[in-house]
């Protein structure tokens, strides 16, 4: 029964004769009438070229997203038999490299998946094409902006043009182990940490030590990848009133606010002794492994799929003794985290025909948001409207927290040397957290390195 509803969904979007009423009935929208109209406004697909056309699309591999994309692609190709798509997927780190090499050697794909923080490195070199929101199914840029989180829009626009089509967009949350909370006499809802100090205190209560060994750490930051380091540090910096770059473009993480932010970052270890960064069983595939194995009570992470929890700790998933809460803030009323997401972009080198087809393909792929959600939950669709109130969706555990985190999230820094910048920050955090380095000195060096990296980039 559910399946046929989903089929209805796609036929709703494909069949241009549908009326607004049947659409609204189909998704049981409550109060989504206004939001739905921009999508209804222009559903006519782009004039898809009729002749044979071959496209290449490079996807960033994800065990949930990739099979779903392939499925949607197959559906699209069924309808448009004149089009063939060479769809390849690679590990995320590979895609970036291969795309650059592709651009260098004239073998770039026509479209590819990437993450939003890489947009500047492409737009600064004119490598990706601006998108036409009307071909994506929106009547105007404003309609598009209204239907997507503000942070995304801000980060994907350049000179008034939109450069990325988002599919998934989400923010970080503090995942807490409610059973362990109750064990030490805390109430997961009332006592959830709202500020970083509270986080430290709560973490301290939850920590169990035996000599120099932590049996249980109160809280953990993931330390395995540079991208995560920046995602974690970003909101703290902004909450302290700091910024990555000042108005002249010079790196300002070593400002007073930056030092305060880094001190907060290190405080769980240094001040509250509730975290042991060297003691982790986290691995690349599962950075939240410590939390899954109940070696720590709280973990700062993107939405965690129930399947991941089930794979490592089936009891925790079955009994549901966990919950994501909003990130702590410097101000208890401003508890936001970083947000980011998976996007598709179109190469500037793709021919006009191919660009049109890609627009149409992307529009089709993500026209069934409910289906997307079903395949990739809990990673949230980037779109605001058309799915969250659906009966199949709205009872998903903690959905409102996830959405709140997404919509309140702050953008990651925009830099043309994002990869290098994250590596520099990662080393800086390692120095502070693992080798107990002086915070101001470390940040000074890091800021210098970031400035040098940026200067290098423009030396052309």
């Amino acid at each position: 029964m559910r399946k046929s509803k989903k089929m209805d969904k796609s036929s709703v979007f494909e069949d241009k004769k549908v009326t607004r009423r049947s659409f609204l009935r189909g998704i049981g929208a409550l109060g989504l009438g206004v939001a739905a109209s921009p999508m209804m406004g222009k559903l006519a697909s782009a004039a898809v070229p009729k002749g044979p056309l071959k496209l290449t699309y490079w996807d960033s591999e994800n065990p949930q997203m990739t099979p779903w994309r392939k499925k949607r692609l197959a559906m699209y190709l069924e309808k448009h038999k004149n089009i063939t798509v060479d769809f390849q997927s690679f590990p995320f780190t590979d895609v970036g490299k291969k795309v650059s090499v592709g651009f260098a050697t004239g073998t770039a794909p026509d479209g590819f998946t990437t993450i939003d923080f890489f947009i500047p490195s492409f737009t600064s070199r004119g490598l990706i094409a601006p998108l036409d929101v009307q071909q994506l199914g929106y009547s105007s840029l404003k309609a598009f902006s209204d239907d997507h989180p503000a942070a995304f829009v801000a980060g994907a626009m350049k000179d008034g043009k939109l450069y990325a089509y988002p599919q998934w967009w989400y923010g970080f949350l503090n995942y807490i182990n409610t059973k362990q909370f109750k064990e030490v006499g805390l109430d997961p809802v009332r006592d959830q940490p709202q500020t970083w100090e509270q986080l430290g205190e709560v973490a301290k209560k939850l920590t169990i030590k035996q000599g120099d060994k932590f049996i249980r750490q109160g809280f953990k930051f993931a330390m395995h990848a540079a991208a995560w380091t920046v995602i974690q540090f970003n909101p703290i910096l902004i909450q302290c009133g700091g910024a990555w770059f000042d108005k002249n473009g010079k790196c300002s993480i070593n400002s007073e606010a930056g030092v305060r932010a880094m001190t907060i970052r290190a405080s769980i270890i240094r001040q509250y002794a509730a975290e042991d960064p060297a003691d982790t069983v986290a691995t690349h595939p599962l950075p939240m492994m410590d939390w899954l194995r109940e070696r720590c009570s709280m973990f700062y992470s993107h939405p965690i799929p129930p399947a991941a929890i089930r794979s490592q700790n089936p009891i925790m998933e079955a009994e549901g003794y966990y919950m994501p809460v909003q990130s702590p803030g410097v101000d208890p009323n401003k508890r936001y985290a970083s947000c980011y997401g998976v996007i598709s972009v179109i190469s500037a080198t793709a021919s006009r025909d191919k660009q049109e087809v890609l627009h149409d393909l992307l529009r089709f792929m993500y026209s069934d948001v409910i289906d997307a959600w079903g395949a990739t939950k809990p990673f949230l669709p980037a779109r605001k409207s058309g799915w969250a109130d659906h009966p199949d969706v709205k009872n998903f555990p903690h959905l409102q927290e996830l959405i709140k985190s997404r919509d309140n999230g702050v953008l990651l820094p925009r830099s043309v040397v994002y990869a290098e910048m994250t590596d520099i920050m990662h080393r800086a955090v390692q120095k502070v957290v693992l080798t107990n380095a002086n915070i101001k000195a470390t940040l000074d060096t890091a800021a210098e390195e970031i400035d040098r990296a940026t200067e290098d980039f423009y030396k052309k």
């Binding site: 590990p91 490299k97 050697t105 069983v281 691995t283 690349h284 595939p285 599962l286 991941a308 794979s311």
Partner: protein, 268 residues
């Protein structure tokens, strides 16, 4: 004397081999065991299904096949061209031969990182990306192999060659019938290390391959370790499987191996 020294030596060997034993033991454990961080050497519960599980998560049989094709090609390439060049340098005098030897050896000082991008661009221009010749091509001949064969062949008395020439043998004939049979230890050494080194190759295939059908197993293993729910036990299973071909090649050629060593480091 014979038995007394054995115990400490056995203990030393055991200590050295311990990580390998750990690898094998872990490959049969359940995934939780890897995170318990207290080593259980003999698994209380054996999980041989780690092996077929690991092989099916990613197309490892294909990856292993690709690695095999590449490694055999590189091994053959080295055997053929290093011998030719080694023979040429050892037994022939021509203007510039010393300089050429030095130049060849100097390529040993060129890490792949220096030549990675230009090599990639070159392979792309040749249209060899994502093909066996593209992956095996740039690593087909190793200067170390040339040096090895040169050193070894130099020790073969030139009288045999002179005599064969007087008898009217052609140069290739001399190489084939006189030199090669005496080269078996060096050839075995060369074969083994060419195979082993190309089996281990990581950086070059990483750049040269973007299509799954041509991935080699190290690339597969790293992808595997970045996958969502991949357990370390299965990683170890793949690692064990990856060790077997090299062990086999070594085993087959090992008798010739030991004597091959003597000729590389000594003077002359």
């Amino acid at each position: 004397m014979e038995w007394v020294g054995m115990l400490p030596l056995a203990a030393l060997t055991f200590l050295i081999v311990l990580p390998i034993i750990w690898m094998i033991s872990t490959s049969f454990q359940a995934s939780e065991k890897a995170y318990q961080l207290t080593t259980e050497w003999i698994p209380s519960v054996w999980h041989p299904e780690n092996y077929p599980n690991a092989l099916t998560r990613w197309p490892f049989p294909r990856y292993f096949l690709n690695s095999a094709i590449i490694s055999v090609s590189v091994m053959l390439g080295n055997l053929i061209f290093c011998t030719l060049a080694g023979y040429g340098l050892a037994k022939y005098r021509f203007p510039g031969d010393k300089i050429l030897l030095l130049l060849i050896l100097s390529t040993l000082m060129l890490p792949m990182e220096v030549t990675l991008v230009p090599t990639f661009l070159l392979i792309h221009k040749l249209g060899w990306l994502n093909s066996y010749k593209g992956i095996a091509g740039p690593i087909l001949i190793d200067a170390f192999g040339v040096f090895l064969m040169r050193q070894f062949i130099m020790r073969i008395p030139s009288e045999y060659i002179e005599a064969a020439r007087i008898d009217g043998a052609g140069e290739f004939g001399i190489l084939w019938r006189i030199i090669l049979p005496q080269c078996k230890p060096a050839l075995a050494t060369l074969a083994i290390f060419a195979f082993r080194d190309s089996w281990d190759q990581f950086i070059w295939p990483l750049v040269a391959v973007s299509a799954d059908e041509y991935r080699t197993f190290p690339l597969g293993l790293v992808r595997f370790s970045e996958d969502f729910a991949n357990p370390p036990n299965e990683q170890m299973a793949i690692a064990v499987l990856a060790t077997i071909p090299v062990v086999l090649v070594f085993w087959i050629l090992q008798r010739s191996l030991r004597t091959g060593f003597t000729l590389t480091g000594l003077k002359g």
